[in-house]
């Protein structure tokens, strides 16, 4: 969050609630980067992430009147962004398997010999696994929260995370000797 906005957050939020375009624009500028980063880490393409960014702020503009200030503004916006990103990957589900990517890319046989960097390995995970890794390990959501956002159980989130870490370990060449 930009420090200038932090200093006058209450005023900006109050103005944004009345639909003031300048205040809504200030909110966008303050949170554009973290929202895009979260969306891009979850979604497969930058186009999808940009769409999520737009969807998120459209929702923020429509719903800022309903923000109760019970948690942080970033926490509220982040939950909207995570939901929009998960909605996007649900729409893209047909391509959401590591196995499919492996077959298409013909790399399965080479896995044990590859040492990928973390960015590439993260990118290679299925969208669902990547979303769970990012939301749990980086954003700090619990398995219960992730399960609820995905319309699944906490166990689903846990097993996705374990599967994702096993694959990351393999792709990063971190196998224990």
């Amino acid at each position: 969050m930009e420090s200038s906005l932090l200093a006058q957050a209450e005023t900006v939020i109050a103005r944004a609630r009345t639909g003031d375009p300048e205040a809504l624009g200030a909110l966008y500028r303050a949170f554009e980067s973290p929202v895009y980063n979260l969306a891009r880490r979850i979604c497969r393409t930058s186009e999808d992430a940009e769409d999520v960014l737009q969807e998120t702020f459209f929702e923020v503009c429509r719903s800022i009147g309903r923000y109760r200030e019970e948690g942080s503004l970033w926490g509220w916006i982040r939950t909207i962004a995570a939901s929009k990103a998960l909605m996007r990957i649900r729409r893209n589900k047909y391509r959401d398997t590591d196995e499919l990517n492996d077959q298409v890319m013909g790399r399965r046989q080479e896995d044990s010999h590859l040492r990928m960097d973390l960015e590439a390995a993260l990118e290679r995970l299925s969208e669902t696994s990547r979303a769970v890794v990012w939301l749990h390990d980086v954003e700090g959501y619990t398995h219960d929260e992730i399960g609820a956002m995905m319309g699944k159980t906490a166990s689903f989130s846990k097993s996705q995370l374990a599967r994702a870490h096993s694959r990351l370990r393999q792709w990063l060449g971190e196998e224990v000797a």
Binding site: R17, G19, P21, L24, G25, Y28, R29, E32, S33, P34, Y36, N37, R40, R41, S46, A49, E50, L53, Q54, F57, F58, C61, R62, S63, G65, R66, L118, E119, L122, V133, W134, D137, V138, T142, H143, K158, S159, L161, A162, R163, H165, S166, L168, R169, L172, E174, V176
Partner: protein, 202 residues
């Protein structure tokens, strides 16, 4: 020796939050390989957190703001449309009253019911206007319900306009059906805004 699974290691990572079993803790304590694996897990997560922030390639605010402005304008137009159709209903009611005042061979029950529906619709719109729903804060569920009802009312309004193309008898029946539907939807909308009923059963 069976080493800890990834799921067990993940549970052990956050004692208290994701409690591992005592057996797993005991194994970890005695197994250098699992200790190394847990350490790698910690490092991997630390590296994930340290990945550089990605930024959008282009500014999406102008599009977002334009879309929001368009939606606000559409919403205002729709609410103004309610009032406009309210006026239409009033005018139509007067015409119907005048028509009913004339001696006719047999009073048409459809006409009376139609008038009744129009008057009710007008009363509900007045109630809704007095409540000023646009100036109020709604929770997400209520807002979605209101939005859906407004969309359905807008659809009925379009159908009402289209009845002009029908023949007289068919038109009266269709008008009655549509005005009744409109009254039902307005009733639900007033209910959503005023009582914020959570179980309108959409």
């Amino acid at each position: 020796m069976n080493h800890l699974s990834m799921e067990s290691l993940l549970s052990l990572r956050e004692p208290g939050r994701e409690p591992g079993t005592a057996t797993a803790q005991e194994h970890l304590h005695q197994c250098p390989q699992c200790q190394a694996e847990l350490e790698r897990l910690h490092q991997r997560v630390a590296r994930l957190k340290a990945l550089p922030a990605l930024r959008p390639g282009r500014d999406r605010w102008p599009e977002t703001a334009a879309r929001y402005r368009a939606e606000r304008a559409r919403r205002r137009t729709r609410l103004a449309g309610f009032t406009g159709l309210g006026g239409l209903a009033a005018a139509a009611s007067v015409a119907l009253v005048l028509s009913l005042g004339r001696p006719t061979p047999s009073a048409d029950p459809t006409t009376e019911q139609l008038q009744e529906a129009m008057v009710r619709s007008q009363a509900l719109e007045t109630a809704l206007g007095a409540y000023n729903p646009d100036g109020r804060v709604l929770d997400g569920r209520t807002a979605r319900m209101a939005q859906e009802l407004e969309d359905r009312i807008a659809r009925v309004d379009r159908e009402l306009e289209a009845t002009e193309l029908l023949r007289q008898q068919a038109r009266d029946q269709e008008l009655l059906r549509l005005w009744r539907e409109r009254v039902g939807l307005l009733d639900a909308l007033v209910d959503v805004h005023v009582t914020r009923a959570s179980n309108a059963g959409l």
